[in-house]
C-alpha cells in the first residue's frame, strides 16, 4: 500500500525529488554488494545499541534514586528539566566541542539526550510502587534479590517498556544527527553526503533499510518481551 502511494507520487514528481521504488532498490542492491551498506548499518546499530543501553542503565539508576530519595530528587530535578528541554543539537555540538570529534563524545551526546526521559519515566514507576506489597515482602522476610525480581521489577515493567520504546526511536534518530555532524561512517554520515549531492535516491537507500531494521527489532524483540511480562493481565475488552 505504502509502496503503491510512493510509486504513484514518484510518477507525478520529478526523479530528483522522489525516485521510484525500483531505483532505490537498485541503489540498495549496489551498496549492499559493495559492502558499504552493511558497514554503515553496523556502525550505526552499534552506536544505537551502546547509547541505548547506557542511557537505559544510567537513566533507570537515576530515576530509581530520585523516586526513592527526596533530596536526590530535589537536587537533580532542575538538571533534568534543563536536559529535557535542551535541544538535541545543542548537546551534540557542545559534546563535540568539549570532548572532541570522537566516538565517546558521540555516544555521550546521545545518552544525554535520552537519559532524562528514562529517568523521569522510572521515577514515576518507583513512586507508583504498591506499598502494601512492599509490606508483605517485609513481613515475609523476602531476600532482596527475590523482592527485586518478584515484587519490584514486575511493577516497573510497564515503565521500563515505555522508556525502552520511546527510547529506541529517539536514540536512533539522534544517532543519525550525531553521525551527520561529526562521524565519518554510519547511516547519518551517508545521508549527510546524499544531502550535499541532493541525491534523494541514495538518502532513501540508506534510510529505509535502517527503518526496516528498527521495525524488526520492535516487532521481534520489544513486543514479544512486553507480551511475556504482561501475560498475567486478563485480556482487555474480552
Amino acid at each position: 500500500m505504502l509502496v503503491l502511494v510512493w510509486q504513484l507520487g514518484a510518477s507525478i514528481a520529478s526523479t530528483g525529488t522522489l525516485p521510484a521504488p525500483l531505483a532505490v532498490m537498485s541503489v540498495i542492491g549496489a551498496e549492499a554488494r559493495s559492502g558499504a551498506l552493511f558497514v554503515n548499518l553496523a556502525a550505526t546499530l552499534a552506536r544505537v545499541a551502546a547509547s541505548f543501553m547506557l542511557a537505559m542503565a544510567l537513566g533507570t539508576a537515576l530515576g530509581v534514586a530520585m523516586g526513592r530519595n527526596k533530596s536526590i530528587d530535589r537536587l537533580c530535578d532542575p538538571l533534568l528539566i534543563v536536559l529535557l528541554n535542551l535541544p538535541a543539537l545543542v548537546v551534540i555540538v557542545l559534546a563535540y566541542i568539549w570532548v572532541g570529534l570522537n566516538e565517546a563524545a558521540a555516544i555521550a551526546a546521545v545518552v544525554l539526550n535520552k537519559l532524562p526521559n528514562t529517568a523521569v519515566t522510572l521515577r514515576e514507576g518507583i513512586r507508583a510502587l504498591d506499598e502494601s506489597l512492599d509490606e508483605m515482602a517485609r513481613v515475609f522476610n523476602l531476600p532482596l534479590g527475590a523482592k527485586v525480581r518478584h515484587v519490584v521489577l514486575p511493577q516497573l515493567a510497564p515503565y521500563l517498556a515505555a522508556a525502552m520504546r520511546s527510547g529506541l526511536s529517539l536514540v536512533w534518530k539522534i544517532v543519525l544527527v550525531v553521525e551527520l555532524l561529526g562521524r565519518s561512517n554510519g547511516v547519518g554520515f551517508e545521508i549527510g553526503i546524499a544531502f550535499q549531492l541532493f541525491d534523494v535516491t541514495r538518502l532513501l537507500a540508506y534510510a529505509l533499510p535502517f527503518v526496516a531494521l528498527m521495525l524488526a527489532i520492535e516487532t521481534f524483540f520489544v513486543q514479544p518481551v512486553e507480551r511475556h511480562v504482561s501475560r498475567w493481565r486478563p485480556p482487555h475488552g474480552a
Binding site: 502494601s132 508483605m136 517485609r138 515475609f140 523476602l142 527475590a146 518478584h150 498475567w232 493481565r233 486478563p234
Partner: protein, 244 residues
C-alpha cells in the same frame, strides 16, 4: 491434650502508647496501655469495634510499625506468617509461585497446606483470576507456607458470605490445631472470636485499651451452646458499655 501445655512465652506485647499524627498536625492516640503475652500454641482473638487500633497492634507486632512507645518481644529467630485484610498476592505470579516464593516449607508440607485449603485445582491460576474467597485461601496458605512460629490474621473472613466464612474458618482451624501454631486473629465479629479462639482480648473504641482478657476453659467444639451464648452476651455488653 492441653494446647497451652508449654510455659514458653511466644509473644510479649506491651504498648504504652501509640499515637498518629494527622494531616492537620494534631496527634491522635490510637492505643493506650495494651499489654498481653501469648503462650506457644495459644489461639487468641483480638476483638474490638472498627477503628479501635486492632490492625495497628498487628502492624506493631509484625514490625511494620516501629513508631510506638513500648516493646514487642519475640523469640529469635522467629518466622511470622501474616494474612492481611486484603489478600496482597503478587498478581504477576501464579498461585503456586506465590506460595513457593515466601516458603521454607518442603514440597510435601506445601501440598498438605494446599490440599487442606482446597487449592489444588488453582495452582496455575493468576490471582486476578480468583474469587475473593479463593484469594483469601491463597493468602492463608502463604502464611502457613513459611512455617510460622506466629500467625497473624487481620479480619481474614471479612466480606465473605456467612457459609463461605464458616467453611474457611474450619479449614483454618484444622491447620492451626494440627501445627499448634501460636495465632493472633483480629476481628470485630464476636461469634467468630468465640468459635475460633481459646482466649479473647477485648479492646475498647479508640483510643484502644484492653477491656477484658478472657481465657475460654473448654474452647470451640467443647464449648456448649449455653456457655457460648453467655460469653457472647457478656462481651457484647462490655463493648456496649465502653462505647456509651
Amino acid at each position: 491434650m492441653s494446647r497451652a501445655g508449654g510455659r514458653r512465652m511466644e509473644l510479649e506485647v506491651s504498648i504504652a502508647r501509640k499515637a498518629l499524627r494527622t494531616a492537620s498536625r494534631q496527634t491522635r492516640v490510637v492505643l493506650h496501655d495494651v499489654a498481653f503475652s501469648l503462650r506457644k500454641g495459644e489461639i487468641c482473638a483480638l476483638l474490638g469495634p472498627s477503628g479501635c487500633g486492632k490492625t495497628t497492634v498487628l502492624r506493631i507486632i509484625s514490625g511494620l510499625d516501629s513508631d510506638f512507645e513500648g516493646r514487642v518481644v519475640l523469640p529469635s529467630p522467629h518466622r511470622i506468617g501474616m494474612v492481611f485484610q486484603e489478600p496482597r498476592l503478587l498478581p504477576w505470579r501464579s498461585v503456586a509461585q506465590n506460595l513457593c516464593l515466601v516458603g521454607s516449607s518442603s514440597e510435601n508440607d506445601l501440598a498438605e497446606i494446599v490440599a487442606a485449603l482446597r487449592l489444588s485445582k488453582h495452582l496455575d491460576h493468576f490471582p486476578g483470576e480468583l474469587s475473593l474467597g479463593l484469594a483469601r485461601r491463597v493468602a492463608i496458605a502463604r502464611a502457613f507456607a513459611v512455617k510460622p512460629d506466629l500467625l497473624l490474621l487481620d479480619e481474614p473472613f471479612v466480606s465473605l458470605d456467612a457459609a463461605l466464612a464458616a467453611q474457611l474458618r474450619e479449614e483454618l482451624l484444622a491447620l492451626v490445631l494440627k501445627r499448634t501454631t501460636t495465632t493472633l486473629i483480629v476481628t470485630h465479629n464476636v461469634e467468630e472470636a468465640i468459635s475460633l479462639s481459646d482466649r479473647i482480648i477485648v479492646l475498647s473504641a479508640a483510643p484502644g485499651r484492653i477491656l477484658a482478657d478472657r481465657t475460654i476453659e473448654a474452647p470451640r467444639e467443647a464449648l456448649t451452646g449455653g456457655r457460648a451464648a453467655k460469653m457472647k452476651k457478656e462481651i457484647r455488653s462490655l463493648m456496649a458499655n465502653a462505647s456509651s
